[in-house]
Amino acid sequence: MSAAIAAAGETPVVDRPTEAPVAVPGTTAPHNDRPDPFGQSVTRLEDLPLVRGQGRFAADLSFPHQLHMRMVRSPVAHARLLGVDASEALAMRGVVAVWTAQDVVGIPCIPLREGPSVELDPYLQPILARDRVRYVGDPVAAVFATDPFIAEDAAERVSLDLESLPVLTDATAALGEFAPGLPTQPTTIRKGYGDIEAAFAKAACTVELELATGRHSGVPLETRGAIGRYDAARDVLELHGAAKVPHRNRDALARMLGRSPHAIHLFELHVGGGFGVRGEIYPEDVLVLLAAMRLERPVKWIEDRYEALMTTNQSREQVHRVRAAVAADGFVLAMDDEFFHDQGAYVRTHGDRVADMTAGILPGGYVLPAYRVTGHYRLTNKTPAATYRAPGRFESSFVRERLFDAIAQRMGIDPIELRRRNLIRPEQMPFPRGIETIEDNIVFDSGDYPLLLQKTLDALDWPRLQADLQARRAQGEAVGVGLACFVEKSGLGPADGVRITVDFTGAVEVVTGGASVGQGFETVVAQICASTLGVDYRRVRVVHGRTDRIQYGVGAHAGRATVMTGSATHNAALRVRAKALDMAASMLGCAIEGLDIVDGRVIRRGDSGPGLALGDVASALAPTARARGEREPGLTAEGWYETPSMTYPYGVHVAVVRVDRDTGAARVERFFVGYDVGRAVNPMLVEGQIVGGVAQGIGGALLEEFAYDENGEPLAVTLADYLLPTLDDIPPVEVMITEDAPSPLNPLGIKGAGEAGINGVGAAIAAAIDDAIGQPGAVTRLPVTPVRLKALLRQRAG
């Protein structure tokens, strides 16, 4: 086994192409007795309060004299809302107010983050339903009371007058009506390049499939929460419990509420998992703010699990009808796909971006000279959908890799060999994909896809693995292996900035507009800062998720935190370093070139003397310090990073799955991830992200599903029905991190890793199940629940 794989019990090892020390560009080589923190698996700065029970999650925060909000939600999937009677609730002791749509008339629907859209805007969600309810859980009224139990009791006494309307639960069915004159398909996504017709005309063979990914989602362990507070003394409105994109949300909320962004601030607390769903603007966020101002008391809302499974963004539900034109040697000439994206009841903040990204990334890392895709973006009477970790990629990898498996089967070519013949080769990099998505003109910046595939096969000792499985199958076991190749995306721009300040004790503060959703953001930023500046990373405090500390911020999503905020941190740290060296040179009376900063001290190179503490340099730069001379006051600098384009990391997933023919249960015995991350700032955290992603992928492939009955009634509203994977469901995940293709787009060469673990899981597990039961192409839909798997086994028998 290669040394680069972290199996259970080992610290992750990175497969670095050279033995050279990993010095950050622009700085000197690491000091011998204190290794450069960049690239090291250092422990996290975040952990101490969290293991001591001192974290502060949304539910942990309370303000004196606060009110509690409870939502009244639609019990049916589609109906005309004729009236709301709150008189009984209002009469209850402790109830302060009950609001319906009429009380929030001037407040617009929750807008798209990327700006208005003529097509999509009519389908946005109001903060309280107006004349129709469109899914079970749609907020209709808000109750405000002095105690959460009173609020809950009162909400149950609010009665709704509803008149049933036809319910649409299938995005492939005939269109319905969202509102008079508005069909349930607001937009169609079309992309492509190359001559599809010609490719199919000359194809040696064509392969056609219908494939579906189930509705599942992030389901963070912490439910949503929001606390609104209006500080009349300063005329500042505050939202506590923000996440993911605090600055973007501040701007949107300021617009919705008619306030200046200077007069509304968002505060991120500890966030109990993000995964794409947490930190979007939901109706409740707007309501607590509005109520805090109008009722002149802080207002707290904490979602319960039942609500979380019914109202927080869901994701993934798509049906694809895909076909491929293949040449006699297995080279795929063209792919043609038509898909249906189930958006649920409203368009939310992302608009059609998940569907768009699906269409943009479906070709993956294969050459594919011609491609065409048509995406039907459809509304149904189910919970609204948006992003979940690796949005559009989990789905499209399933479709693409299933298609390639089917082609291999049809042509009698080994599936690995088929992929090899089609993967983009390193000499073709940078590779313009020929398509745009909303976000970017897709250009794969760097990569050696065949190399990663080969390294993965070598690490697994592929021939031996195959032989072992063969032998077990000969003994009657239903066990098999499946593989998936994918390209990820990360580092969505266009720009991010940070401010770094050193104080007189030598402590460093990095203020960023990034956000943390529990992924180790503070540690990574501190490592980059420490490495560039020359201090201990534990001396670096990272401030994030506070709109009152920095004007702009990109937040944490789309795998951008490390790439964007990390690069901006590097740039700012370089500037602080230059300022410190300049000041220190004058203090020490020597040339800048002769100085270095090591472990928080400015030292003369080659000199073992104590040097100057950075804190003293900061003191010398204080506005009032004479030593400063004409220099700009403060040992502080801003740094920006702008990127023209996203970076594209890539990976290979391999699953070994055993099927129990009696129960239909599929068990993942082994899961392997090979992933090129460009450069890993902290391999332990990269590995942690990947293993966590794999677990979520296994959930989506085998267990998790938001099912609905034909009336649109959700069937998975507790964690006993919506099955999150437990330890028992997760095999020991093996991770191989490689650094063969650093990104040329940023100074550190880094690419994102947040979505590396989940991307190809559905695809690899599907292939492994096919292999295990000896029925190529059997799995066409996720999740492969025991019931579905039993049905597949019966099909074969029958």
Partner: protein, 161 residues
């Protein structure tokens, strides 16, 4: 109707008045202001609310506060002795066994009860016990490593003593 009760948490007495329908998790958090115990489902599924009651791990969302009167209750806040972390807390940090940290108090208390039994748990026992709590971030791998490491450390010291 509220009842006056006394809860003993981490050796401290808390005199509170609660309605009979209030869960132990809720009272620990809201009345005693010990918010390290988390609530993820209020349904007995996730284990985020796990505390130790008279030596056994208990899902505090499934117990009424009034039922816990007179019992010795331990929560995550009581694990460290001042700045001296409990071996499990240290192991969770060393092995990157937490990401968002929301599930962590529950896993720590579950594991504490497990490791305080006279014999160190076998790998199979560990696997089974830890399968009862949910973590959405880590994929569990590092949680298992951390608990195994702490088990070694704790049983080595107690063996030596």
């Amino acid at each position: 109707m509220k009842h006056p009760i006394t809860l003993t948490i981490n050796g401290h007495r808390h005199e509170v008045e609660v309605e009979p329908r209030r869960t132990l998790a809720d009272v620990i958090r809201e009345e005693c202001r010990l918010t390290g115990t988390h609530v993820g489902c209020e349904h007995g599924v996730c284990g985020a609310c796990t505390v130790i009651v008279d030596g056994d791990p208990v899902r505090a969302c499934l117990v009424f506060a009034v039922q816990a009167e007179g019992a010795q209750i331990r929560t995550v806040e009581g694990l460290a002795q001042g700045s001296q972390l409990h071996p499990l807390q240290q192991a969770f940090m060393d092995h990157h066994a937490l990401q968002c940290g929301f599930c962590t108090p529950g896993f720590l208390m579950l594991s504490t009860a497990l490791l305080e039994r006279p014999d160190p748990p076998s790998d199979a026992e560990l696997q089974e016990a830890l399968s009862s709590n949910l973590c959405r971030c880590t994929g569990y791998k590092n949680i298992v490593l951390a608990v195994r490491a702490a088990s070694k450390a704790m049983h080595a010291t107690s063996g030596a003593a």
